[in-house]
C-alpha cells in the first residue's frame, strides 16, 4: 500500500487560496454537523419516552428562531459565494505574460504543443515560477484537463477553444487526469505535469530534435495548403492580408466587428463563410477535414508571428 496521503500537494498559486476557502467551509460544515448530531443525541436521551401515555406540551414554533436560522445560514453562504466567485473570476482570466501552450484532447491522449515547436503526448514540461496559459480543444468528444495539485480543471470541448491557466510554485511531478467521461479508455487518458527549475527547463527545451518553432511549422503548413496564393503580405491579393491581423478588430460584411482572437482565426479556417471581412467576396474554401486541430493551432501561431498590428500594440490590454 505504501504511504497514502490525505491531502493533495499545493503546487500552484491557486492551491493555497482554494485550500483556505476549503478550510473555512470545512469549519462551518463541522460546526453545524456537530451541532445537529449533538442536539439529536442530547434531545433523544434527555427527552426519551418514559411512560406510555406521556403527552409533551405543545410548542408550535417561534418566528424569531426561524428568522435566526435563516439569516445566519444565508449570511454564511454569501461569504462562501463571494469568496469562491473571486477565486473563480481570477482563475478564468490568464495574465498577459503567460507562457502560451496548446493542448489538443483526442480519444484517450493529450497532445501538447509548445511555442518552440516541441510536442509531447500525455506529458507537460513547464518552467517554475512563470504563469502558463493552456489553450485547449478536442478532436472528438469532451475531455477535461485536470491537475489536482494545481486545483484547476477545464473542459476541452470539440468545436471551440477553452482556456485554463496556473502558475506553478513547486518543482516536481504532478498527476494529470482527464476528468470528463470520454469513453472506453477514459481512465487511461492520464499523464504527468513536470514543473522544472528554469535552468532544467531551458536544457530540456534545447534537447531533442528541434524542428523549428510552432510558428515555423505554421509557415510550412501555410505554404502546403496554398494559403499564400491569396493571402499576400502586401494586401492587394484577392484576400485580406494577415499581417498584423491578430488582436486587431475586423470589420465584417454584415456591418458588425469582431476581435481577431484565436477563436476567430480558427473559425475563419474551418468555416470561412461564418464571418466574411467587409469588402471581400466569400471566396475562401473550407479547410474542415483538410487540416487537423494541431495544424490549425500551428497556423494560428504563424499568423500571430506576423506581428500584432501597430494599433493593437498600443491599444488596451
Amino acid at each position: 500500500m505504501g504511504k497514502f496521503p490525505l491531502f493533495p500537494e499545493q503546487a500552484s498559486t491557486f492551491a493555497p487560496e482554494v485550500d483556505h476557502l476549503l478550510f473555512f467551509l470545512l469549519a462551518v460544515a463541522a460546526f453545524f454537523t456537530l451541532l445537529i448530531f449533538a442536539a439529536i443525541f442530547f434531545f433523544a436521551v434527555r427527552y426519551r419516552r418514559r411512560s406510555h401515555g406521556e403527552l409533551p406540551e405543545v410548542q408550535h414554533g417561534a418566528m424569531t428562531l426561524e428568522i435566526l436560522w435563516t439569516a445566519i445560514p444565508f449570511g454564511l453562504t454569501m461569504v462562501m459565494f463571494t469568496w469562491g466567485a473571486s477565486i473563480y473570476f481570477r482563475e478564468a482570466r490568464p495574465p498577459d505574460d503567460a507562457l502560451q501552450i496548446y493542448v489538443v484532447g483526442k480519444q484517450w491522449m493529450w497532445k501538447i504543443q509548445h511555442m518552440e515547436g516541441k510536442r509531447e503526448i500525455n506529458e507537460l514540461h513547464i518552467p517554475l515560477g512563470r504563469p502558463v496559459k493552456l489553450t485547449m480543444t478536442s478532436e472528438d468528444v469532451i475531455h477535461n484537463f485536470f491537475v489536482p495539485a494545481f486545483r484547476t480543471k477545464q473542459d476541452a470541448v470539440p468545436g471551440k477553444y477553452s482556456t485554463t491557466w496556473f502558475q506553478p510554485t513547486k518543482a516536481g511531478k504532478y498527476h494529470l487526469f482527464c476528468a470528463a467521461y470520454c469513453g472506453t479508455r477514459h481512465s487511461a487518458m492520464t499523464g504527468w505535469v513536470y514543473v522544472m527549475e528554469p535552468r532544467d527547463y531551458a536544457n530540456w527545451m534545447r534537447g531533442g530534435e528541434s524542428t523549428g518553432s510552432l510558428a515555423d511549422d505554421g509557415a510550412k503548413l501555410f505554404q502546403e495548403l496554398a494559403c499564400v496564393n491569396c493571402h499576400k503580405a502586401d494586401n492587394h491579393g484577392r484576400c485580406p492580408s494577415l499581417v498584423g491581423l491578430f488582436g486587431s478588430t475586423v470589420k465584417l460584411s454584415t456591418g458588425g466587428t469582431v476581435k481577431a482572437d484565436e477563436a476567430y482565426i480558427r473559425e475563419s479556417i474551418l468555416q470561412p463563410n461564418a464571418k466574411i471581412v467587409a469588402g471581400y467576396p466569400p471566396a475562401m474554401p473550407t479547410f474542415q477535414g483538410l487540416v487537423t486541430e494541431e495544424g490549425v493551432l500551428q497556423l494560428v501561431e504563424y499568423i500571430k508571428s506576423l506581428g500584432p498590428s501597430p494599433a493593437a500594440l498600443g491599444g488596451a490590454r
Partner: protein, 99 residues
Amino acid sequence: MTEHIDSTKTYVLVFVALVSLTVLTTAVAFVNLGDFSVVAALAIAVCKMLLVALFFMHVRHSTQLTKLVLAGAMVWLGILILLTLTDFATRGLAGVPGR
C-alpha cells in the same frame, strides 16, 4: 363552468380578431423593424394566445387555480429560456476563449 355560456357572436368576434392578427403579423414581417421584428412577432403571437386561452378555453370564467397554472407555465418557460441565455449571451465577454 357550465353556468356561463358565451354567445356565438362572441366567439365569431374573437375569431375575426385572430384572423386579422394573423394577417397583421404576416404583413409586419415584411417591414424592416430590425431587432423589433422579433418583438413584434412575439407580441402579436402572445395576443393571439391570450385571445384563444381567455375566450376559447374559457379561462375568463375559470377558477383562480386555472389562471395560476397557466401563469406558472409561462414563468417556467421563461426560466428555461432566460436562465440558459445568461450563459449564451455572456460567452466571451471576459475576453478569454471558452470563458
